[in-house]
Point group: D2
């Protein structure tokens, strides 16, 4: 079965800014979904901020294998309830791909536990994305590096936790560097952050960028059943202990009582 | 100068439960602070939930090198404003030591980005804490393992991110295992989680446990100046780029404008 | 195409020790290969120490996607040339699964860069293998834990580098714990170490253990083309630099000259 | 007590190449030792390839807290016995700082378990070293970045294991990037690799580089007693098991017998 992928887009600049509109007449989310659907192993649809529940209701998320996230101007407008729902689905095993300015999204910062800050410059400068591990599934089909001719600079320090894997590091014309492709595991879910993708440049039309997105969806998809009770802290009563034990000493909780949280 | 350490205690069961009161007449926080102050390199004071701002106002946190955190019944009663303040101080470089049931505290789950769930059993059973890396500073002075005679069982899966370092793994009489001592880096701050410490057993009077606490405070203390602007994402204007560049193409932001977040 | 898997066995105790012979009439490698071949996605064959080049000549390794390694008594008898060949194939992208006493094999210690020592006891005691991340591909189809009724105890400290992922941690009847399933990345290749598997107990006939082995082979297989030149350190001459630069200052090497190593 | 540091230098180009001789009349090792000794917390001496046992006999290593390693042309001339001795001392807890072309040294590749290859260019180009975590002890006293005016380019992919911490990433004038400062833990010892330091440029006279070296020595020093038996795999006999167990089933080894290796 194809990987059920939802491409989430803030869809604010896509509608309001004429430069963005000219580059992405169907929105960035439309362009990304089209790029993903070029691979028959992926079945991508879109969802946007302006939809009810931002297009991410419980039922739809339950049937989503991988979610991609692009937001910028309206991070604060994303409802906390939807953020918690997305975060919990990641913990249950849904893959998450966070794009560009999504570094400051509620979803990403919530999963990282760090500021996720960086330095930036909007000058249409050249970015060269270097592949650190060419055998990583996310780098499949790429050469040693690829170029984004006009990019927004994102510079270190990028205040994320040390990644599980550093897949890409970028060089910028103006003198900075950035860990532009990094992976994390959060509960049952895999997370990939990928920085290229500023809205006033046609970056999601770049063939290498599209290849990375398709690779990342396939890497992030987890066929395991959803880990639905991952937030639970189940009590294991004395008579259900793997090894026979006798209860000793005082205790706070009555048998069968739920723990505090 | 001694390491300025604040021992934070929820101080609910310490006051309300007579078993706990009998073991810890000065509260668990009082016992922990005393154990820390046995080392002249540490200057520990206490703070509790019932104090204004939970005893963790801006000025005090600014002068705190390491914070230890014990909470259980009243995680939900900790104000979100104080949680954000503590989290931000960790990012700035303050060390944090999270104890036992603090795995479900707002502070810890916020920094981890995962559920931090586990399994548990309150049967006063034996826990043997194995030292995984005996040369780690947090294991200084310990043998290959030490025993907590009566402990609450905490079992895997412990849904944390893969640690930076696994320092201790525990064996339980009832058949479970647990990563009982693990380290993380979050922004400029070091975080150590240590699981032994249930309130109805005198675990914080155990000499090995006290040794771990002192070691952990010294490990977590960071002499670097506070990274005060770690949450900022500074723009680097074109004329301040490290390498001379010419601006190209369109942009969203006017020169000097702040980014979105 | 099925994953081309070679099950390497030392095949010494398998032949010489009658207890082992009774449990594994076709050798442990025979039993493991059979368990792997129960999955049509895997095509497993065997190789043993006593064959020419230990059954691992250049041509065969070049057509191997995943290698499993079991050795114990005769680690020292494995030729250094074959060890280097195996290690290089891992770097190129071949998956490697190291089993039980293989922790002290030349291949594993060479890839880890650490002693890989541990404590041990041969008493047929119970081992309970806990799943740390139930959504990890290597844990597919398992419950929260499984039991090996009679096992050799392997205890911490297990002197490996901090793993990329901790998949399993074991509890032993005699009081020890062990990180019994851990993953690493080495160059282009994935490495999984799995400790259950002592030769005088029928552990490779355990259904959960067999499931882990099949899962691990699928996890370790990397469809990327072999990274053949991973050991090379290519010079990038000035006129091939990604950005135009002028040569400045003195240098050691003449244009086109190889670097030192 | 000051940190007993040995600065190891290959001392081949230092003597034979007149450019190098002019920059470093006392050898690179002399220059580095002088820079370290500017800090009263460090007591640095030197050792070179041409000395008996390369200046690293058993007794001297036993009294060394931190070793720095610079080699290039003569990696192959370093005796395997000395390499094993150094590696074992790292496992026991000695800190190791590997410099520049030391990426291909026997000592470093042995500890990493990977090729440690990279790309390179000798053109005296500009390198800008970015600080990824400004609160890391190795970055103490540095700004957001510092410049090495003339450097040898070292480029990704740098085929090391994923680091414990990424401290520095470098930008090069010619368009490449490199993880120029990375940490690892190997057994009881901390390892730091730092790439700036080509011999035909006066890089070890750069104030920021010298600051990094002093910081790194202090970070790598471990006050724990040497873990002398880290290579041993001790048997824990049945009657010494932490929990009482009865022996069951067959076994390979007689009581008290050493394991195979």
């Amino acid at each position: 079965m194809a990987i059920r992928t939802v491409v989430w887009g803030e869809n604010v600049h896509d509608r309001e800014n004429e430069v963005v509109r000219a580059i992405y007449p169907d929105g960035m989310h439309g362009c990304i979904a089209e790029a993903l659907n070029a691979d028959p192993a992926i079945a991508a649809t879109t969802a946007t901020l302006d939809q009810p529940e931002h297009g991410l209701d419980e039922a739809r998320l339950a049937e989503t294998d991988v979610l991609t996230w692009w937001g910028h101007k309206a991070h604060g407008a994303v409802s906390d309830a939807v953020v918690e729902r997305v975060v919990e689905r990641v913990w249950q095993g849904m893959g998450l791909i966070v794009l560009h300015s999504g570094h400051f999204s509620k979803v990403f910062t919530r999963l990282m536990g760090t500021p996720c800050s960086l330095t930036w410059r909007e000058a249409g400068e050249k970015e060269r994305v270097w592949v650190v591990n060419r055998n990583h599934p996310i780098a499949a089909g790429l050469g040693p590096s690829f170029v984004v001719e006009a990019s927004e600079m994102y510079g270190e320090p990028f205040t994320i936790p040390e990644p599980m894997e550093t897949v890409f590091i970028s060089w910028y014309e103006g003198g900075e560097v950035f860990r532009s492709g990094v992976t994390f595991q959060r509960g049952g879910g895999r997370v990939f952050y990928f920085s290229p993708g500023h809205e006033v440049y046609p970056i999601y039309r770049n063939a290498s960028v599209q290849q990375v997105l398709r690779n990342a969806v396939k890497w992030a998809a987890n066929p395991a059943p959803a880990w639905r009770d991952i937030r639970q802290a189940p009590n294991v009563p004395v008579d259900k202990a793997p090894e026979p034990i006798a209860e000793k000493g005082p205790r706070l909780h009555k048998p069968g009582e739920a723990g505090y949280r």
